[in-house]
Amino acid sequence: MIRAEHIFKSFEGRMILDDISSTFDTGKTNLIIGQSGSGKTVLLKSLVGLHEVDSGEVFFDDVCFNRLPFMEKKAIRQHVGMIFQGGALLDSSTVFQNVRLPLDLFTRMSKAEKNKRVAFCLDRVNIVGSNDLFPSELSGGMIKRVAIARAIVMNPEYLFCDEPNSGLDPKTSVVIDNLIREITEEYNITTVINTHDMNSVMEIGEKIVFIHQGKKWWEGTRYNVLDSNNKELNDFVFASSTAKQAKARITEQGQSLR
């Protein structure tokens, strides 16, 4: 479980996160949604400590993570996996080396054990026969998969994903979403995902936090989204006119049933 308590963050006097508190449960895919530029990335980076928050606390289970000294943070970091928006694979390393890096640095595994573990993770995300390719030789979907493999290679307890399916076609997006959900359930990981993709919201939104103007504007599950009256949430989720009509119809039916 990850708990954020009263997170404030500003850049050069501009308030980006304004008192955000929420809880993200273990074994579930927790989503942070919001418009582009609403501060999702800043929030995610604040949770993992890549940004220093102005005030507030981030708890990883019962440990107040953002107040820990460097070495203790480092110990916890080895249980954290993160998938960045652009993949952030090391350009100068091959697919296999990218996934193996955390094992090289932090474990005492033998070479054979490491290779076995890397092969397992790459297989898990369906990357076969691309071990020796460099990131520049991969498609967008493959980069995301390799990034997932790297994020899970250390058996993380916490997984953070920044727009894991941005820039992918709808079908690949759903595959990536489901992959993350399966992994989350399989290994009982606390997963937090940034997205502005409505398919993801409806597909894997077990818990949704809606960020608007730097504040936590709404939270609930994907089922709550359908019958919420929150204007900004509806404007965001049902942005296209067709979707607005669909939502209006659902609401009507709901009222006539009552």
Binding site: K45, V48, L50, F70, M71, K73, K74, A75, R77, Q78, V80, G81, M82, F84, Q85, G86, A88, L89, L90, D91, L101, P102, D104, L105, F106, M154, F160
Partner: protein, 246 residues
């Protein structure tokens, strides 16, 4: 004011670079790779500029020592001193600042703006140390060899020039080369080169590490890195010469 802020941040980064390195074994591998990447690939350019520099310096000396009162062997002697004391270290360092400095700043800067540095940090890796330390160590060790190469090739360039133009007797050139060779001067040049190597790699690493924004900014970081390390080289050339020779 800006200078103090800059220096402060630079020293803070250096502290991060030299604190809590990761497993030594990983570093050894990276240092070897960087020696190849930063040092070995510079052999060609260093040899090329050195041979021309040696030739030009000899020519200049010969033209300016045109007096019957000055013994000709002094041309060889003056060439050797100039090449050994300044060209092999300072001029070569300025060239390497352009080649290696811009390479480091743009490589690390790109890693910064594409989140690769954040990815290392999230894993719990000291990214500054992991990325910059191997570059510093490998160049501090390797660049003196480039300086030795430059001394050798530079003097050879002068020899070739003398032989080709017959502007003064070749024997005098060789006699000059062998006149009053002080080992301390060579040590001085090599120490200077190591200091310059440290300045180039750490300053370029600094500019890359704190790059932000987009590819334009990385380009700017790379330019600034080259300018700043050239200035640093010249300032430290003066300081070290004052300390060691005067």
């Amino acid at each position: 004011m800006k200078f103090f802020e800059f220096s402060g941040n630079y020293l803070l980064l250096l502290r991060k670079v030299f604190s809590r390195p990761e497993k030594f074994r990983i570093y050894r591998k990276r240092i070897m790779a960087e020696m190849d990447h930063l040092g070995y690939t510079s052999v060609g350019i260093v040899a090329l500029i050195s041979i021309f520099m040696g030739a030009v310096v000899t020519l200049q000396m010969a033209l300016n020592f045109e007096s019957p009162f000055i013994p000709k062997y002094l041309i060889g002697y003056a060439t050797r001193e100039t090449v050994f004391l300044e060209f092999s270290s300072t001029v070569v360092a300025l060239i390497l600042a352009g080649k290696v400095g811009s390479n480091i700043a743009s490589e690390i800067g790109t890693m910064r703006i594409t989140d690769q540095i954040d990815a290392l940090e999230v894993m719990g890796i000291n990214s500054a140390s992991y990325l910059i330390l191997p570059k510093i160590v490998s160049s501090v060790v390797f660049f003196p060899f480039l300086a030795i190469l430059s001394m050798f090739v530079g003097v050879l360039g002068g020899y070739a020039m003398t032989w080709l133009t017959e502007i003064f007797p070749l024997e005098d050139y060789v006699t000059g080369l062998r006149t009053e060779l002080k080992l301390f001067n060579i040590a001085y040049a090599l120490i200077k080169t190591s200091v310059f190597a440290f300045l180039i790699t750490s300053i370029a690493g600094f500019y890359g590490y704190y790059a932000k924004g987009n590819s334009l900014e990385v380009g700017k970081a790379s330019t600034n890195a080259v300018v700043a390390s050239c200035v640093a080289i010249l300032v430290f050339d003066l300081i070290l010469t004052k300390l060691m020779l005067v």
